[in-house]
């Protein structure tokens, strides 16, 4: 039982886990179960990253994907509160024949991708790229990527905030500077929201 064998064993078993979990994920009817499998898939991906000599990416995968992004999903699923109804609905939305065309498409694409992978002799072995190297390159030549990422996240933040808020406060008129600072009490805001809903109902 050599180290290489052990290493490969872990790699292939995690790879199988990732594929199986993803497969289960796309076939689940219950959103929370699907998320659970997705988390398992991400965690096994993290292990694969570690095996590929990218510990930083592995930890980031857990912290960001599993620790933050998936939480958002769970959060939204809970807020939507779809319940049992959604499971039945999902079952109705997933007829067997609906799988044929997508599966063929994906299979063809997969075959092409694998075929296009080329000969492996160009590739060298696994290299360890540590946190320090990544940091030096990230804040050196790739500084623009950091800036872009921050802009992207800011845009996402603003967009998500704007989209998910429940009602918009009344827009102040020009020159009516006072209205910026007048706090709108909760009851007023609720009334406004109610009015809006009534109007929507009429429309």
């Amino acid at each position: 039982m050599s180290a290489i064998f052990f290493y490969n064993f872990i790699f292939y078993s995690t790879a199988v886990i990732a594929v199986v979990a993803t497969l289960l994920m796309i076939t689940r009817h219950n959103a929370v179960h699907a998320l659970l499998y997705l988390i398992i898939s991400s965690l096994s991906m993290a292990i694969i990253f570690y095996l590929l000599g990218a510990p930083f990416a592995a930890v980031l995968e857990v912290i960001i994907y599993a620790g933050a992004v998936m939480i958002l999903f769970v959060f939204v699923v809970m807020m939507l509160n779809l319940g049992h109804r959604s499971v039945e609905q999902e079952a109705a939305w997933l007829p067997a024949k609906g799988w044929i065309v997508p599966s063929i498409l994906a299979a063809v694409l997969l075959m092409l991708l694998v075929a296009g992978l080329g000969e492996p002799e160009n590739l060298r072995g696994v290299h360890l790229v540590g946190v320090k190297e990544v940091g030096i390159v990230l804040f050196g030549p790739y500084l623009l990527v950091v800036e872009l990422a921050s802009f992207l996240l800011l845009a996402g933040l603003v967009g998500a905030y704007h989209l998910a808020r429940r009602s918009t406060p009344p827009t102040p008129k020009y020159g009516d500077a006072q209205s910026h600072f007048t706090p709108v009490s909760d009851s007023e805001a609720d009334e406004a929201a109610t009015d809006q809903r009534i109007e929507e109902g009429k429309a």
């Binding site: 997508p102 498409l105 694409l109 092409l112 991708l113 296009g116």
Partner: protein
């Protein structure tokens, strides 16, 4: 000199502030911005003038200018244009006229336009106009000059159509725009020719090269001079492009005063004066300039005799006075021409503003038949109008006399025919001015003089008084423009020539007095000859002529050409693209999954193409 750039920038800044306020600025503040930018520009001009004179007195060559290069503007191949300003005596005098008279007219307008709902918009346009005009006169190259040239055209268009809700004003604005465009096209072609022949657009360099490369009387300078003259004629409302100016009176009166009397319409004079070396190379062009001026001044004088709208009378008189300037240019009396430009700017602005006061006092009544006997009711406008009229008639010792007399003398020197026409024009000027004075202020119609009301605001009278004072004494000024232009010849005509030039206007006044106030010699009254009256009232039928010659054939041609075969090609394109649109829009079915599947299929195709070829 280093703050020369401030002069056009300040009005532009005012324009920017006003246009960014998008009409929400309170009137008081808009007024401050509108007037303040021009006034600051005027002060800058004064400072620049002191510097200019100081430099001139320190042995600088007379006539040489200062070039202030700001930044490279257009760099394309051989063409290398700087955004640079040029200051010499000519542009300095123009600066005085534009900023000085401009400031006074802005002050006046702040009172005149007070009740208008679009107060801010008015000052926005006015500031933009002043900026463009300053750019025009300060430009160091012809392209920059053309920029200002078109800028003032735009502002003129905007301001004539200021009260755009009345379709008549819109038509007038459009007419002015289109007619001046005809001249501008000629100007632009002239520019291209200059660039092709001389390889430069820097004015000073062009002028030097032109005199170096061309002989007097060669074809090319003649052609270029005539094209430039076309531009000048369009802008300055001379024959044959004069028809837009009377209609331009549809704009607010301060606009008429500033743009259509004092500054913009004299841009043509400035252009010819600026490029005079080119004109000097072509005696034909010079004769043409003089002839155009002469004919225009006569036609406009006759037309002015028979107008009932106070502003149209003044508009025709403006045309006539610019005719004098062209005449002066054509007879090489350059400095007299610019001097007349300046004095005319003063007294014509005065006349227009006074007319504006009268119009305002009569609740926007412009028909002189409904005025009369206003001498007592409107004392300040009366005296101001009197002084302005005296200047216009060129009675000694007003400034009009000192500027017009040299023109007459110079015309005599070149050709007595020019002199005779000019004197006849002066005679006509005296008659129609007297007529206007009498009908507005002296002659009491049946039913007594009309009701007037005191206009609100303190801004109306001080500019009038200042302009009146300036009009009286401006003849004593030494004009810096003289430095920049070749000196006129010393004239020594016979004495009777000079005396005739002084006396004939007096005769005209007497005739006007007899005919219009005493109501004698009614046979001389043009109003009694029906056909002639109509002909004159319609500006010698030029509008009809252009309509028949240009507009109608064009419209007919367009109508005939409406359904020709060529249209099938664009129509076919339209049909084909519509069909394609219907076909492809079926794919845009709003189904996300369909889109993704399409993308995946496309990815498969691209990858297989990459792999298997």
């Amino acid at each position: 000199m280093d703050i020369l750039w401030l002069i056009p920038t300040l009005p532009l800044l005012g324009f920017t502030i006003l246009v960014l306020s998008s009409g929400r600025m309170p009137r008081e503040k808009a007024r401050v911005v509108g007037i303040g930018s021009i006034a600051l520009s005027f002060m800058t001009t004064l400072y620049i003038a002191t510097q200019y004179y100081a430099a001139a007195s320190h042995g600088l060559d007379h006539g040489a200018g200062f070039t202030v290069s700001l930044w490279p503007w257009i760099v394309a191949g051989d063409l290398n244009l700087n955004f640079s300003l040029y200051l010499d005596g000519l542009s300095l005098s123009m600066l005085f006229v534009i900023t000085g008279v401009g400031t006074l007219i802005h002050i006046y307008a702040s009172g005149y336009m007070w009740d208008d709902p679009d107060y801010t918009r008015f000052f926005t346009y006015m500031n933009l106009f002043v900026a463009a005009m300053l750019m025009l006169v300060l430009a160091d190259n012809l392209v920059l000059m053309f920029l200002g040239w078109e800028g003032v055209g735009l502002c003129s268009f905007l301001l004539i159509g200021f009260w755009y809700k009345d379709p008549e004003n819109g038509f007038a604005a459009r007419k002015a725009f289109v007619v001046t465009r005809a001249g501008d096209t000629a100007f632009a072609i002239g520019l291209f020719l200059l660039f092709r022949e001389l390889g430069s657009l820097e004015i000073q360099e062009i002028l030097h090269r032109a005199t170096d490369e061309w002989e007097v009387g060669a074809n090319m300078p003649t052609l270029i001079a005539i094209l430039l003259l076309g531009g000048a004629v369009g802008k300055s409302a001379q024959l044959p492009l004069q028809t837009w100016l009377p209609d331009a009176m549809a704009g607010p009166t301060p606009v008429s005063a500033l743009i259509h009397a004092a500054t913009m319409v004299t841009a043509g004079v400035y252009l010819i004066a600026r490029t005079h070396p080119v004109f000097l190379l072509s005696p034909t062009a010079m004769t043409l300039v003089a002839s155009v001026g002469l004919i225009t001044l006569l036609i406009a004088g006759f037309t002015a005799l028979n107008q009932w709208d106070i502003k149209r009378v003044l508009a025709y008189s403006t045309m006539s006075q610019i005719g004098y300037m062209f005449l002066a240019l054509g007879v090489e009396a350059w400095d007299s021409s610019i001097f007349h430009l300046m004095t005319h700017a003063l007294f014509k602005a005065l006349l227009f503003l006074t007319a504006g006061s009268i119009i305002l006092a009569l609740h926007h009544e412009q028909d002189i038949r409904k005025m009369g006997g206003l001498r007592k009711q409107l004392p300040v406008p009366f005296w101001c109008f009197l002084i302005g009229s005296a200047c216009l008639i060129a009675l000694p010792p007003t400034s009009g006399f000192w500027s017009k007399e040299p023109i007459l003398l110079a015309a005599w020197e070149v050709d007595p025919v020019f002199w005779a026409g000019a004197v006849l024009g002066a005679f006509l000027t005296a008659i129609y001015t007297t007529r206007l004075m009498i009908l507005v202020f002296f002659y009491t119609p049946e039913g007594g003089p009309p009701e007037t009301h005191e206009p609100k605001g303190w801004q109306l009278h001080p500019p009038l008084i200042i302009l009146a004072a300036l009009s009286l004494v401006a003849g004593a000024f030494h004009l810096p423009a003289a430095d920049a232009l070749p000196h006129a010849h010393e004239h020594h005509p016979p004495l009777w020539v000079e005396v005739t030039g002084i006396l004939l206007p007096l005769v005209g006044i007497f005739i006007g007095y007899q005919v219009f106030l005493k109501e004698k010699w009614q046979g001389l009254r043009l109003a009694n000859q029906q056909a002639l009256r109509d002909f004159l009232a319609k500006g010698w039928g030029f509008d009809w002529l252009y309509d028949a010659l240009l507009v109608k054939p064009f419209l007919t041609l367009a109508r005939l050409n409406r359904n020709d075969l060529v249209d099938l090609v664009p129509k076919g394109v339209v049909v084909a693209s519509t069909q394609c649109y219907y076909f492809f829009s079926r794919g845009q079915n709003g189904q996300l999954r369909f889109y993704v599947a399409t993308m995946a299929a496309a990815a498969i195709m691209i990858i297989s193409l990459a792999l298997f070829t």
